[in-house]
Each structure stands twice: as C-alpha cells, then as structure tokens.
Symmetry: C2
Subunit: 348 residues, 2 copies
C-alpha cells in the first residue's frame, strides 16, 4: 500500500464517521476560474448597531428587549424552524409518501455584546465563556425528556447564510435524531463493538503518529484536517479524552477548547487575510434515548473558500447528483493551515 | 392519517430514492432576510464571444480548435476532475484511512453554437438534438468496459459554480458507482424485489392520482415536485415507461423529454423573471456491472433560489451537520410552478 499515491492520482476516500466517500482530484488545481467571484461585505461595522436584534438593550421581533449583557447571551429564536408545541404524529401512504412531525426548540446564542467582533478576534477567556454557556445549555436542554438531540452550531459570514453579522450561533433541539447523527452513531457503534475503544480514539492516535494532517494540538484537543475532508479547508476538533458529550468537559477542557477554537479561527482568517466564513458545529451523543458509550465528542468546521477571499468551492452538479468532490488534498490543506501564524493578521 | 397537516406543522419527509430525510418548516416563510443578496450578472452577452472556449471556431486550452458546429458539440474536458489513465489501486490503513483510485473521463457538451442562449430560450427541436447527443454519448461511453457509471449533468448560472455562461453541460464517466447512485440502487432494488414493479412507477401513479405536486405532463414524461424535495423549487422528471436508461428512449421520447425540459425551464425563468440557476442531471442504471431491472430513469433539478432572483436558500450549519431543511412546502412550490406561463417572459 506504500505505492498508493495520495498526492497525484484521482481517488476516493472513505469518511469513517458516515460511511460516505469523497472524490479527490489533486491534479485539478490548475483549472482556470472565470466563474462567480464573491462580493466582500465591508468590514467596518460599529461596535453597537441600534438596528441589530442581538446587540445589548435592543428590541427583538417578539417584543422582548435584550438585557445589557456583558459576555454571551442566549434566547429562543424568534423565527424558529422548529416549534416546541408540535404534536407528534406520522403520515404514511403506501410507503411512498412518508412523513413524521418534528418537535423542536431553536435558540440563538450571542457570543459577545460587541457587534463588530468575531470568534478569532475575541480573547480566549471570552470564548471560554461561550463554551461554558454551550455546556450549560446542553445540560439544561437535556432535562426535557422529549429532546433526543441537541445541535450546537454557528454559520459565520454572509456566504454561509448568516443573516446578521453580530457574532452568534444557534442551538437546535429535536424530538428525533437527525440523519447525520444516525450515520455517525452507527459507524461508531460498529467500531466500538469490535474494538472496545472509540473510533475517534483510534483515528486520533494514528493521526498523531503520522502528524501530516495535524494542524494544532493542546493538552485536551487536536485540530486536524480529516483524511476524508470534503470542503477545501475542512477541519475537525477531537477531544483527547473519549467523552460522549460536552456535559463531561472539565473547566480545563472548556478553556482548552476555547484555545483550540481561537487558534484555528485565527489561522483561518490569516489564510486569505479575510474574515473566514464557515459553518461549524459539535457532534456528540444523543440524549434521553439510551446509552452511547461509543460516541466521541468532536466539532466539524466546514469552510467554503478555495483559492482566495472571493473564490469558493461549489458543491453543485456532480457533487449533488453523484458524490462530493475536492481538488486540493487534505494533506496540502493541513500544511497550509499549520504554516499560518497564530496571531491574527489585523493585530500584526 | 388524514389529520396529519403537511401544511403547517414542522415535519420530516422521507426521500424514498435515497432513504434520507428532509426537515420541513412550513411556518417559517415569514423569516426576515438581512443576509446575503446575490449579485446578478448582466444579461447582455454577445451571440459569439471570441474569448469563449465553447464558441464555434475558437481555441481551447489543450490547443484544439472547435469546429464551426451548428447544433451541439461534445469534447473531452481540458481540466478533467478524472483521468482515464489512472491505475486502479487501493489504500487501507487499519480501516481508518481508506482510499481507492478512481479512473474516469470528463466531457463537456455545448448545447448550442450561440453564446447568449440557455435551454429555456432554445427551440424544442434544438433541445431534442442535445437529448439525442446525450443518448449517443451514453451508448458509446458504455462500450468502455471499465466505465461503471455515466453522470450527465448541467450547472446553470454563476451561483451554481458554472464557470462559463455559454450553454453547456458535462458528462463524467467513472470506474466506480458514486455514492448517490448506490443509495438509489439499493432502495429501488428493495422495492422491486417485493413489488415486482419499479419504485418510481408506483410513485408516479400515486402522484398522478393526487395531482397536487404535478407541474407538467406530456405523453412520455411527468415533471413534479417530489414529496421529499430539499431545494425550494426542486423538481424531478420521471419517464412514464419504466426505462432503466436513456439508451432505451425512442425518437418520440427524445422529443418529449426536450419538450418537458423546455416547459420546466421556461416556468423556472418566469418564476422570478430571471435566468433561473440550477444543477440538473439524470440518474439511471449503472453500466457494465450486471443487470438493473429495478432502475427507473429520472432527472433531478436542484435550483437554489428561494424568494427572488437574488435570495437563495442556504444549505449550511444545521443542514450540513444534521439534516437538510426547507421552508416552503413541496405542494406550495408545485402550485407556483404549475401557475407559471409556458411562454418565456422575454418573449411575451
Ligand atoms: O467543471 P466546472 O464546470 O469548471 O466546475 C463546476 O462543476 C464541477 C462539477 O459539478 C464542480 O466540481 C465545480 O466545483 C464547479 O465549479
Ligand atoms: O436561522 P438563520 O441564521 O436565519 O438561517 C441560517 O441558518 C439556518 C440553519 O443552518 C438555515 O436553515 C438557513 O438557510 C440559514 O440562512
């Protein structure tokens, strides 16, 4: 297997967490680009915006007024995609039209009172306060027996459908376990049944030996470009301890995750000297539905940019109809990110 | 099951072709939009562009010169994502790093010598010549025993990663069957084993009885918004006859598919009075790898626009991490498309 050339031949790679494959075309980076170039939104926001529904003291759509908060702040989304009073019911016509009601609760979490800041520009201590709030929310939401999965995530940047530049994330709680999580549960369960250790512990150990895809490591977390990355600069943060969820993070781990997020997002911003867009979110064990000893907490970062602040990777035709496809390799992306300074380009 | 309200409660729907679920949030259409608004590229292209690598008589990157073609024209992609000389080989490290070489052949197909036209603006007879060329390519590519799947598709519009506005599509042939096709094969095979008819024949019959999601029907094809549509105005074209692939299209079917594509894309353009972007492509039986009596030819259209020519649906955070999500229902989208005139807005 030493003769297999991950660097030049087109090949597919297996995502061990989902069982899905990505097509890698390493030779294709020379493709000329005459297509869409993103507009950059000006980076000159005020620290406080009187029209922003996330800034302290402002009105929200539901009539509430935000408190004068000084760290982070969480509230129920005024335009939730899910509602917590949906009656549970099912629909099935000949196994051809199949639907289930979905009960849920959508919350918004502001990361900072400042309108014009983003995670990479925040102090590690302030990011740690966000992580602590994620943990607190996870724990209290889990107390609702009907909630089976809690999805914590952030859409950063207009290009990622973020509808307000004020730094914020979302927490969606659901009465069913969503598709991606079912896939990851099944694969981790199968591995655990055979090996009696978590899939990601084994994977992490191998990656730490090889080092080629590792971007950053601290006492409790490793940031790396997964072997099966789909997005050009996709990364994953994996906890060194085999923890099923954020519930079990110690205070030291909360600080360490904040540090890892800070370093990773600073490197991202430095890559193209732009506020780097992404969608990011944690994957962890479902709640109120049995034991998940196989589950290993991790956090995915899916950033769309490919070549510059304005040219992204399009997941379109072939990708939608057949299989995800990427051009630069995971190893190339990891090297690039590793080489990026840990100090934000605006601070230099 | 009559009390199940597909119209107002958030619910999930099953994609019977892939086994995947989509979250539908019908109440959420009132969400305000302060996010990204797409730039429209000006719609004033010349009929011939001396710098376009698809226009007749022009030079291409590989040194070839395009013929003075008058209908459609196909050639090997100068920047192929796949190469036909890749040696087949595999890589496996402890079942954690798993990769396979992928051999392939990428072709580009120009739909018209005219640089400034798109499918909805072409005559049905000219679209039929494209369909006939698709069939011819499918048949001749299948003669290569190493090719297992032939993906015919089009990315239309800058927003869908189309790198050249000259009307064109692509044909990627692969030495392996891609992920989406494996899913659709499995589901169709299971259904066929039990019912001895194709899954899509049964589905089509039911939809034609209900009519609610049907957009257009001619002698040989039905255009409808599938019950499990993910994109706001996603549609599927299904052949009335149970055909495994385009290979079996009669001349009448070639003309009928051209008619269905014409009507559908005209309706799309009329919806927001813009050149409606989408990725579209056929799904059909794999080749050179046994029999697929269960396979039923169909063509998916995945268009991103949600509210207007400039506001699209973002498949981001929750969608990437957990499950696809949509706001308007499939029934609403079908009604809208049904109501659109069959004459292009520019012609009126
Ligand atoms: O080959 P093209 O048209 O240059 O490229 C386009 O289609 C490909 C196949 O869907 C995608 O991989 C690219 O991201 C997209 O920009
Ligand atoms: O809820 P928001 O931030 O307004 O909306 C954003 O995130 C959601 C969850 O990923 C997506 O469904 C929307 O398409 C996106 O615009």
């Amino acid at each position: 297997s030493n003769t297999f050339d991950l660097d030049s031949n087109p090949h597919t790679r297996l995502n061990i967490l989902t069982g899905e494959w990505v097509l890698v075309s390493p030779h294709r980076t020379k493709r000329p680009w005459q297509g869409k170039v993103e507009e950059l939104s000006p980076d000159n926001r005020p620290e406080y915006d009187p029209k922003c529904y996330l800034c302290p003291g402002n009105d929200r759509a539901d009539g509430d007024v935000n408190p004068a908060y000084s760290e982070s702040f969480v509230f129920k989304n005024d335009f939730s995609a899910l509602l917590d009073d949906t009656p549970l019911a099912s629909f099935n016509e000949a196994d051809l039209l199949v639907a289930n009601n979905q009960k849920g609760l959508c919350k918004v979490i502001s990361f900072s009172p400042k309108h014009n800041i983003t995670l990479p520009e925040m102090k590690v201590a302030d990011i740690a306060s966000v992580v602590a709030l994620w943990q607190k929310e996870f724990n209290s939401l889990s107390e609702n027996q009907w909630i089976k999965y809690i999805q914590i995530f952030e859409n950063k940047g207009e290009i990622m459908g973020c509808s307000n530049p004020h730094p914020h994330g979302q927490i969606w709680s659901l009465s069913d376990i969503p598709a991606e999580l079912l896939k990851e549960t099944e694969r981790q369960k199968n591995y655990y049944a055979v090996h009696r250790k978590s899939l990601l512990s084994a994977y992490l150990q191998l990656e730490l030996e090889i080092q080629e895809r590792v971007v950053y490591e601290n006492d409790h977390f490793v940031v790396l470009v997964p072997f099966w990355a789909v997005w050009p600069y996709e990364t994953i943060i994996i906890s060194k301890r085999h923890l099923t969820s954020i519930k079990y993070f110690t205070e030291a781990e909360i600080k360490s995750l904040a540090d890892a997020i800070k370093i990773l997002t600073v490197k991202y911003d430095n890559l193209f000297e732009t506020s780097f867009p992404y969608s990011a979110g944690m994957h962890q064990a479902p709640v109120n539905s049995g034991d998940y000893p196989e589950w290993h907490w991790h956090m995915h970062f899916y950033p769309p940019l490919l070549r510059s602040a304005t040219v992204k990777k399009f997941m379109v035709g072939y990708e939608m109809l057949a299989s995800p496809q990427r051009d630069i390799t995971a190893e190339f992306a990891a090297k690039k990110l590793r080489e990026m300074p840990q100090v934000h380009y605006k601070v230099k």
